[in-house]
Amino acid sequence: MSSHDRPEATAAASAPAREPEQQRPAAPRGTESGTTTMAGPASGGAQTQPGRRHERQRRRHRSGGGGGERETPPHAPQGRQQHERELNLDELRELSELINEQGFTEFEIEREGFRLRISKQTFALPHVAVHPQSAAPQPFVAPTVTPSAPPPAASAVDGTTTAPPPDAASGPQQPGAGEELHKITSPIVGTFYRAASPTAEPFVQIGSRVGPDTVVCIIEAMKLMNEIQAETTGTVAEVYVEDGQPVEFGQALFGIKNQ
C-alpha cells in the first residue's frame, strides 16, 4: 500500500521516522512499558463503528475467519504491546478504518519509541508480513496477498517461500516509487557500504546506469568485503539503505528502473 492521504494517520509514520537508527534490521523494538490505549475501547458506545469493532476483535482472538465473532481462547502472541506514548484513540480508529477499507490483513507502523502492529486473521494465504526492517524506508507495510481467496495448502507453501522480499512485481510499496522497480536485495547479512573506502566515490548514485556486472555496493561480513553486482540492466532510481547500515538477507538495497 502506498502513501495515504490522511494527515493524522500518516504524518508521524511517513515523517523521518526512518532515521538511520531505525532502519537497522536489528533495531530495538519498543519494549518500553507504558500505557497502551490500544487495549481498550475505553469510552462506551461507538460499538457499531467498523473500525472499533475490528480493534476489539484483534484484541480478543486471532483464530477463526476474518471478523468472526467466535469465542476462542485468546492466544495473543502480539509481542510488543507496550508503547511509550499514548496512541490517540481517534488516530487508532482512523487506522482501523483505513485497514478495513483497504482490505489489509496486516498493518505495521513504527515511530520513535513505539511500534504498532495490527493483524486481522482470515483464512487467506498464510501471508508473510513484510517487516519494515527488511524493506526500505516505508511507513506502511502491505500484505502480499488479499484476504479474499481461500487457498489450498499447496499454494500456501509457495506463498511462504516467494513472498518476501517484496519485489517490484508485487506492486507499489515504496512511497513515491510509483512504477515497478527491480530491487537489488542483499544476498547476505552484513554491513552495507556505498563505496570501496571511506574516501572513495560511491559505486553508484541515483541516475547511474548499471549493467549485470556493475558493482553497486560492498557488504562487509565477518571482515570480508563482498562486492555486490547489479545482475540487471537499468538506471538506479532509489537507494534504500544508508552507508554503514547493517542489512539482513533479502533487504532491499537499490531500486533499478529497467530499460
Partner: protein
C-alpha cells in the same frame, strides 16, 4: 583458569521454534536482550515476534539459513551480541561454529569446541569414556579397517551386533546384523550411508542389546570443574529412533542405580573437562547393567521433564555458566520431587508419522495445575515444511507417575490443534496403554504398541528399517 564473571547484555539465539522461544523466556527473566535470527519462511514466527531484535539470515532451506555459519556470525556481529545460544540441532554441536564464534570474541553457550568435537566422534567418545571408567558396550575401539576385522570382533563380542557411523548419532547411520552372512553387505551399505549423510564413511561395531531402555543423565558443569547431575530421563519410547515421549524419573531406576549412573556421568564429564549443560545417554539392559551410548553436548529437547522434577532452570544455568559464574549448588542440593512426562506434539499423521505441515486454523494450549507447554505455534500460524515437524512439547508434572499419566491424558484432550494432523491422538492412546502404564517398557515399545493397536502399515512405520531413513 578463573576469569571475572561477565554479564551478558545481549544474546543471539541461533535457532528457531519452541527452543528459540524457551531461550528468549530465560533471557527475559534475566534482563538480557535477545536477537532472533530467522529464515524468510519464519518471518511470522513467535521467536521473531518476542525477541528484542531480529535479523533475516537467508531463504527457507536450513542449509542457507539456520545452518549458514557466516550468516549467523555476521548477524551476531552487526547486532553486537555478547554470546550465542545455539539451542539443539542445527549448529549446536558444530565444533567449527563454536570455534568461529570464539574467534570473533562471541561466547558460545556450551562446552569448548574441542570437547564438542570429541563427543561428536562416536569412536573417540567411546574411547574417552572407556578411559574415564565408564562402562561401554563391547565393540571396536577404532573405525573398522576391513571386513575381516569386523568379523573377528563380531565373533568376539557375539551376535547380534550393530554397525554404527563414527560421525553419526541420534539414531542415524546404523545397521543391525544378526548373522555372519549379513555382516559383509551390511558393512558396505552402512559405510556408504554414513559417507552420504555425514561426509565420513568411518564405521564401528558394537554389541547389540535387543531390548534396552534408553536412559540418559542430565549433567550441568561450570567452567571451573564443578559438575553435578540432575537425574535421569527415560526416553525408550521411540519411533525409528526418534523420541516420542520422555519421563523423569525413569520407572526402571532405583535410587542406588540413579546415584551410580549419575556419579559415573559426572566423573566422565570432569575427566574430559566438560562445561555447561550436557546429557550422557546410556543403554540399560534387561539385567540392569548400563552402558555408555553417546553424549550430547547441548541442551536437549526433553530438558523440561528434568526441570519439573528438580526445579532447575537449565537454560538459565547455561547462561550463567557461560558468563563465567560458578555453579551455585552441589550434588547434595539436587532434589527430586514428583514425576514428569513430556509428549512431543509433531505435525504428523499420528499413526504413520507422515509429516503434515500447513495452516493451523484453531489452537488451544492446555493449562491448569502441573501443565507446561513449550511451543511456537498459534492460531493462524503456518507450519512450514522445511524444518522439524515438532510443533509443541506438552509436559505435565504431578506427585506420582500415576497422577502424571492422568494429568497428561486430560491435558492432551485439551490440546486442540486444527488444520493439521498431530500426534495428540497417538499420545492419548499411549496413555491408555497397559504396558506404558505399567512402566515396564523398552525401546521395542512402539513396535509392540502398533501390534496391539494398528495394522500392518503402522507396524511398518514403527519397525526397525533395514534401509535406514535418516531423519
Amino acid at each position: 583458569m578463573p576469569i571475572a564473571p561477565r554479564k551478558f547484555r545481549k544474546i543471539l539465539i541461533a535457532n528457531r521454534g519452541e527452543i528459540a522461544c524457551r531461550i528468549i523466556w530465560a533471557c527475559k527473566e534475566m534482563g538480557i536482550r535477545t536477537v532472533a535470527v530467522h529464515s524468510q519462511a519464519d518471518r511470522d514466527s513467535l521467536h521473531v515476534r518476542f525477541a528484542d531484535e531480529s535479523i533475516c539470515i537467508g531463504p527457507a532451506p536450513s542449509a542457507q539459513s539456520y545452518l549458514n555459519i557466516p550468516a549467523v556470525i555476521s548477524a551476531a556481529e552487526i547486532a553486537n551480541v555478547d554470546a550465542i545460544h545455539p539451542g539443539y540441532g542445527f549448529l549446536a554441536e558444530s565444533p567449527q561454529f563454536a570455534e568461529i564464534a570464539e574467534a570473533c570474541n562471541i561466547k558460545f553457550i556450551g562446552p569448548r569446541s574441542s570437547v564438542i568435537k570429541l563427543m561428536g566422534d562416536k569412536v573417540e567418545a567411546r574411547r574417552a569414556m572407556k578411559e574415564a571408567g565408564v562402562p561401554i558396550l563391547p565393540g571396536s575401539s577404532e573405525p573398522l579397517e576391513s571386513e575381516e576385522e569386523a568379523l573377528r570382533i563380531a565373533r568376539e563380542i557375539g551376535f547380534p551386533v550393530i554397525i554404527k557411523a563414527a560421525a553419526g548419532g541420534g539414531g542415524r547411520g546404523m545397521r543391525i546384523v544378526r548373522t555372519e552372512d549379513e555382516l559383509g553387505p551390511a558393512l558396505e551399505t552402512a559405510s556408504n550411508e554414513a559417507l552420504a549423510a555425514f561426509k565420513n564413511g568411518d564405521i564401528y561395531v558394537e554389541r547389540y542389546v535387543e531390548r534396552p531402555r534408553h536412559v540418559e543423565i542430565q549433567v550441568m558443569a561450570d567452567e571451573f570443574g564443578h559438575c553435578v547431575h540432575l537425574g535421569e530421563r527415560d526416553c525408550s519410547i521411540q519411533r525409528r529412533h526418534q523420541k516420542l515421549l520422555e519421563e523423569a524419573l525413569s520407572p526402571a531406576l532405583t535410587p542406588e542405580l540413579r546415584a551410580e549412573m549419575g556419579t559415573v556421568a559426572v566423573e566422565a564429564c570432569k575427566r574430559v573437562g566438560y562445561a555447561n549443560a550436557g546429557t550422557v545417554e546410556f543403554l540399560l539392559d534387561e539385567d540392569g547393567r548400563f552402558y555408555f551410548m553417546e553424549m550430547n553436548t547441548r541442551i536437549q529437547v526433553e530438558h523440561p521433564v528434568t526441570e519439573m522434577v528438580t526445579l532447575a532452570d537449565i537454560v538459565r544455568n547455561q547462561i550463567r555458566v557461560a558468563e563465567g559464574e560458578e555453579l551455585a549448588y552441589e550434588q547434595k542440593d539436587v532434589i527430586f520431587a514428583g514425576h514428569a512426562i513430556e509428549c512431543r506434539i509433531n505435525a504428523e499423521d499420528p499413526m504413520t508419522g507422515v509429516p503434515s505441515p500447513g495452516l493451523i486454523t484453531a489452537c488451544n494450549i492446555p493449562g491448569g495445575p502441573g501443565v507446561r507447554v513449550d511451543t511456537a505455534v498459534y492460531p493462524g500460524y503456518f507450519v512450514p515444511p522445511y524444518y522439524d515437524s515438532m510443533i509443541a512439547k506438552l509436559i505435565v508434572h504431578a506427585r506420582t507417575r500415576e497422577l502424571a499419566i492422568a494429568r497428561m491424558r486430560r491435558a492432551l484432550e485439551a490440546m486442540v490443534v486444527e488444520g493439521i494432523k498431530t500426534t495428540v491422538p497417538l499420545h492419548l492412546r499411549i496413555m491408555d496403554d497397559p504396558e506404558f502404564q505399567a512402566g515396564n517398557y523398552t525401546t521395542k515399545f512402539m513396535e509392540r504398541f502398533y501390534a496391539r493397536n494398528g495394522g500392518a502399515k503402522e507396524r511398518a512405520a514403527a519397525a526397525e528399517p533395514q534401509a535406514l531413513a535418516a531423519r
